[in-house]
């Protein structure tokens, strides 16, 4: 997690882990994505351990969302490796998978919640149907199992069961995010990606969604990567933080340290601008 901070009075590098001997859940290294001459993600690397929440902060255009799309296997990078600590693809760079395998890995092992519910949901289908569809794609065919598992996922996302047949289109923003969350966790993913999941919600609704995420993380130990420009959200959820600027990680560390004793000039600006 130690990003280089060139040109600064440097803190000494940290040692490799010695007390924790768990296998990482996610290892990303040298990830680079260019669009023509523009480098959206520049040599990004990080490691996440099972149950950890990694926050990604930075201004618009810093490459946060591109990073998330790469982690969701929606795009191919020019360089970099990405492995998940799961048996079926241990040690395999997920970017080398063929189209079919890549899609199946995404469905089975990775869940995502977008800021915009339209990206993640069929707005005219029922809420329960949206979740069941995810299970169908993964091969579940029994009607009863579909219904039971969809309900369980919606329940874990604290979605009110009496609205299970209501299409997301007519739900509030907070409820739409709960449907997205249910869909994302229905298959018990090894990695949950969250792209500004509470941006645009009322503050009180935001608190409830955050609480749900916190509970999920605690009860199920899902490894999460959450992108947000809201440092309050990051402070509440993330164990560790990556600070991105112009596609690169300029600082990484424990959340309370990065937000309370930021080292990089950019992080200092970011923290002071938001407090």
């Amino acid at each position: 997690m130690n990003a280089p901070m060139t040109g600064l009075a440097m803190m000494p590098d940290l040692e490799p882990p010695r007390l924790v001997d768990e296998e990482p859940a996610v290892v990303v290294s040298g990830l680079t994505k260019r669009y023509g001459d523009f480098t959206a993600v520049d040599q990004v690397g990080f490691t996440a351990f099972p149950g950890e929440v990694i926050g990604v902060v930075g201004e618009s255009g810093s490459g946060k969302s591109t990073l998330l799309r790469l982690l969701n296997l929606e795009e191919q990078p020019q360089a970099g490796t990405y492995t998940l600590g799961i048996k079926s693809c241990a040690g395999v760079n997920l970017f080398t998978l063929g189209r079919f395998e890549s899609r199946s890995t995404r469905v089975r092992h990775i869940g995502i919640v977008y800021q915009n519910p339209h990206l993640g949901l069929h707005m005219h289908h029922t809420s329960g149907g949206n979740v069941a569809e995810r299970l169908l794609v993964a091969g579940e065919r029994s009607f009863h199992a579909l219904r039971r598992r969809a309900r369980a996922a919606l329940d874990a996302s604290e979605f009110p069961m009496d609205r299970i047949d209501v299409p997301p289109l007519t739900l509030s923003g907070g409820m739409q995010q709960r449907v997205q969350l249910a869909k994302a966790i229905a298959l018990e993913p090894d990695l949950l990606l969250l792209d500004e999941p509470t941006t645009g919600l009322d503050v009180s609704v935001q608190a409830l969604v955050l609480d749900t995420l916190k509970r999920l993380q605690r009860d199920r130990r899902i490894t999460m990567v959450i992108v947000s420009h809201d440092l309050g959200v990051i402070r509440t959820l993330a164990d560790r933080v990556l600070v991105m600027r112009r596609g690169a990680v300029v600082e990484a560390g424990l959340t309370d340290q990065v937000l309370g004793d930021p080292q990089h000039p950019y992080t200092q600006q970011l923290v002071h601008a938001k407090l």
Partner: protein, 253 residues
């Protein structure tokens, strides 16, 4: 693994040498020094009191050892149940593990999250370490009771509580899990006498159980009888030379 705080080989539990902390404030182009050349050894069951005027860096010292702050100067060798490690250089993931398993930090402020009840906030650390909900809530209530929070407030949201009541919730949460090393940052500030007494009783208990503590106290007379060592930090905090112009250029954008 040995039980908490009982390993005879773990002496001293914490060895700090030449510890210093400077804050580099990029937009001012200068460094602000706090404490420097701090040395001490702390054994299991020992209590170290940090003294000194406001602004001498007492809280910063605690935060540096807890790794909420980084420093480039000194060493702090902590003898974890899993082996010795320098707290100033340990991997973030190791520090996160130590915070869950061995090292606690008690502040004077509750970070109340909206719409989470007092008893749930207190129970959370136990839930995180895998206890079932019923046991955790039972234990949480026992703690809230010990600190004198009225049972009618247990299921209420602390964001509406007074400062003193919030602090009782905060202390219960911070002390509910067993620790080998505790940092105490003015935990008695804003507490009434009854709650202060309950806290001191709990600290006595912890000390007897072998928990090492480093504390900053607003009312030192409350805990004077627990103190084994004292370090007074210097009042004057010299400003270091401005950093080079090269760093300034980076800030200017």
């Amino acid at each position: 693994m040995t039980p908490l705080g009982t390993d005879p080989a773990a002496s001293p539990l914490l060895s700090v040498r030449d510890l210093a902390k400077r804050f580099e404030i990029h937009h001012l182009g200068r460094q602000v020094a706090t404490f420097q050349a701090v040395d001490f050894d702390l054994d299991a069951g020992e209590f170290l009191m940090l003294g000194g005027a406001n602004g001498t860096g007492k809280s910063t010292l605690l935060r540096t050892l807890y790794r909420s702050c980084r420093t480039d100067t000194g060493t702090a060798i902590y003898r974890s149940a899993r082996g010795p490690i320098d707290l100033l250089r340990a991997a973030d993931i190791d520090i996160a593990w130590l915070r869950r398993a061995e090292i606690g930090f008690v502040t004077q402020f509750l970070q109340a999250r909206p719409r989470i009840s007092a008893e749930d906030i207190v129970a959370e650390p136990l839930l995180q370490s895998g206890q079932d909900h019923k046991t955790a809530i039972g234990e949480a209530r026992r703690w809230l009771d010990a600190f004198g929070l009225k049972p009618t407030l247990w299921p209420a949201y602390p964001s509406a509580f007074s400062g003193g009541e919030q602090q009782k919730v905060n202390l219960a949460r911070a002390l509910i899990r067993p620790r080998r090393l505790l940092f105490l940052d003015e935990p008695t500030a804003s507490l009434d006498r009854l709650a202060r007494r309950a806290l001191v009783a709990r600290l006595e208990e912890l000390k007897r159980a072998g928990v090492a503590m480093i504390g900053v106290f607003h009312f030192p007379e409350d805990i004077q009888h627990l103190v084994d060592q004292q370090i007074i930090l210097d009042a004057d905090t010299p400003l270091a030379d401005p950093v080079s112009q090269g760093d300034m250029a980076d800030v200017a954008e």
